[in-house]
Symmetry: C2
Subunit: 463 residues, 2 copies
């Protein structure tokens, strides 16, 4: 691969073959405990679906065009289960503010700007372009309450080639006037109109998702009616769950009849079952809540960076994993600063180490204090959460046969070491040290978003 | 600045003028609480020393060549008060291991390789090149026990144009055979020989520093003799202090006569006074220790990332600042993964937020539990620590008149926002989001290490 030429964006990807083979140093998760790492292996894509990874290319695939990235790292595209598109513009600003200041001075005023379609186009344009260049392939995205702006975001995401569940926010209480839908009935009507308009656009990759912000910002009536809508139309739902202790106490006041926070969502019909539900945070779950999460197959978006920035605490990820709960990672921009799930993987490991020595958090915690028997997360588990774990929501994020084909090629040559590195070591280093510029090829559902073409792309030695 | 040409490395910097002016959007710390941020201002360098920052260029400087970086961010070069050069090669590897595993499987075997000068040249070459491209200008560097390898490192640092205090490690107990100096007398002789050889090289920018690894790995005899050497020759000293509770208990056993950990260093003559001392960590200081640190003017290297990775806890930085202790930042590679002090600034803010909610740590802590009245660090304080605070050791790190002139020009244009950003906001965003590639110019002691030349470099309008 002496000479490389820069080619192909999503827009010109029509010419790209539906069946092809990538060759390189391939790493992916087989389970939370097991990474598969193979040097110089072959990864098959058949009509947008993974055909498997092979040390030698089976004869049946020898007619497929082969793109030879030997020496480069090939991994699945990553999944971000929780990101606020409208907050991307002020990521990394005011991060030393207290939460309420930050909401009042940064988050709410910025969200209010999205009533203006022109502003939305500019701001969401920056957002989508950053995601396109980064390691993520799949996203669960919060927009704002504005229908037009949300459709602009969906158009941009669709055009990018990325896959997402994207939701217009619903909220009708406990938020600034400019962001409040005027009644539960009005908010429901807004959601239905937005769904109808979304449907007419015939998106391939952009699925609408119901997005009540969280219980404190939605009236009971709105939550019930959204729950009914979700059940009637089989729609996925995303929201926030048990982020911090004050919020939990508030929800207890607002829903005195509910057994707990998760139970309140369930009572409203918003907690999984037929269609999936994705809940961000889960820093302070009760045992019964965890049982319900598990029973309903609800996805948890673990957002370690945001949980630190907002001083929420450290989620008990080890417990979630032990219970077999579907847990993935979220960047939670702009509570989180970085829009890369690589960063979330490293942060998840680091946070789990602090949990071991500091305990889950102290603020009134029944289990406050160090948890010496708490085993911190390993690379395997962190990488699994950010790829196959979260990706399971989309049947993606892994190179297991039958998953949808999302792949990244990383040229990690300048992350140099004075000694040879194994594929697993290169993966670990890429998690901590790679930047977007290291990504030289990115495919989502088998289509290239961008790629640097290896010179020998049509050479298929079959070996 | 339509066209830019890439020019000038440290090696060809002989041609660069000794007196010059940079123009751009200038930010630097005046105190831990105060940032100076000025758009389109002029920064004067006179013979390697800051001549001040001016909104309009005083007439006396109008003969100086002016390099016009308007629209770019200009900040002081940063200072890393604690980094292990020999551990750079395995940064970001094995970060999910427990500490003892990590030392045994990664740190010690790697350090042992530096008995080989060829290996040292390769490994230290990667290290120094990474520092050269990054935002740091000044460094306190730990090498290994090997004299030849340490001199190779010093040569490379000197050649790079960076300024450092670099030390051959001393240790004669409680470490693997391959890294143990055979006796206290032998270790002292090694240190003296190394100092003599260093002196003969007439380094301009590379000062030797005595480096007993920490009390547990040095016998009393060795510590006494190094303390005497430090006093006799007026040499600076660096080591580790109060990183974690087990280590502190161990030091108490090893030095039963000392009032505390810092007191033990003082008793050995290794705790500041005439020549400076730099101590890494200080996660668990006692009140009396803090008083001694303050009294002796000892610099503390706060290493938030490493303290999390190694599960040490969260240092009480707010208390250090309130006491007026000289505190700077350290990356502590490879306990820390990232060799950029920008990352350490962001981590310091984030860690201080977690300290507020989680408390200092639980393991037997008298003050365990949340510290609701603990005020997290702000951008001002974090930036000050990583620039002027740590830089004070070298009389650098700020653009106050009289400090040595270290400057970075950052082209932060692609860290875009959908709304205009103030200089302070751009600084905050650069702390969190900039990468080495954003640095388009770097000067240390007035000499350019590299720079992209603005087209209008000789145009001096004076205005």
């Amino acid at each position: 691969m002496q000479k490389m030429t820069d080619v192909s964006t999503g827009r010109s990807a029509g010419k790209f073959p539906a069946n092809f083979v990538l060759r390189g140093d391939i790493a992916y998760s087989k389970s939370p405990e097991e990474l598969s790492c193979r040097e110089g292996a072959f990864l098959v894509c058949r009509e947008g679906v993974c055909g498997g990874v092979f040390p030698r290319l089976p004869a049946e695939y020898s007619p497929f065009p082969l793109y030879d990235y030997r020496g480069k790292l090939i991994i699945p595209g990553l999944t971000d289960l929780h990101i606020h598109a409208s907050q991307f513009g002020f990521r990394g600003l005011g991060m030393d503010m207290e939460l309420l200041d930050w909401l009042e001075k940064r988050a709410f005023p910025e969200e209010a700007k999205f009533h203006d379609g022109g502003y939305a186009r500019r701001a969401y344009g920056l957002f989508v372009e950053a995601l396109r260049r980064g390691p993520g392939a799949r996203f669960c995205v919060f927009a704002t309450i504005h229908t037009e702006a949300t459709l602009i975001l969906q158009d941009l995401l669709e055009e990018s080639g990325l896959v997402s569940m994207t939701g217009k926010l619903s909220m009708d209480r406990n938020c600034p006037e400019a962001l409040r839908e005027k009644s539960a009935a009005g908010a429901l009507k807004n959601a239905e109109e937005w769904l109808d308009l979304s449907e007419k656009r015939n998106y391939r990759n952009t699925r609408p998702i119901l997005t009540p912000r969280f219980i404190p910002s939605c009236s009971d009536e709105l939550l019930y009616s959204l729950g009914k809508l979700a059940q009637d139309r089989g729609l996925p739902v995303q929201s926030h769950l048990s982020e911090n202790r004050r919020e939990i106490a508030w929800v207890r006041e607002l829903c005195p009849g509910a057994s707990h926070y998760a139970g309140a969502y369930r009572d409203f019909g918003l907690f999984g079952g037929e269609a999936p539900a994705i809940m961000a945070h889960c820093v302070w779950p009760e045992d019964e809540e965890l049982a319900l999460i598990k029973e309903r197959g609800v996805f948890i978006a673990h957002c370690p960076q945001s949980n630190a920035n907002v001083a929420s605490g450290i989620a008990p990820v080890r417990r979630l994993l032990n219970l077999g709960i579907a847990v993935g990672l979220g960047t939670d921009v702009a509570g989180g600063i970085h829009s890369s799930i690589f960063r979330a993987m490293g942060d998840a490991i680091q946070a789990s180490k602090l949990r071991k020595v500091l305990g889950p958090a102290a603020e009134g915690s029944p289990s406050g204090g160090a948890e010496e028997d708490y085993r911190p997360l390993g690379l395997e588990e962190a990488f699994w959460m950010g790829s196959a774990g979260g990706g399971a929501l989309f049947n993606a994020g892994s190179f297991e046969e039958g998953r949808e084909f999302d792949a990244l090629v990383l040229d990690d040559g300048d992350l140099a070491a004075p000694f040879p590195l194994s594929v697993r070591e290169r993966l670990e280093r890429a998690v901590y040290l790679s930047e977007d510029r290291h990504i030289i090829g990115k495919w989502v559902r088998g289509r290239p978003l961008f790629m640097i073409m290896p010179e020998n792309r049509f050479e298929n030695t079959g070996e």
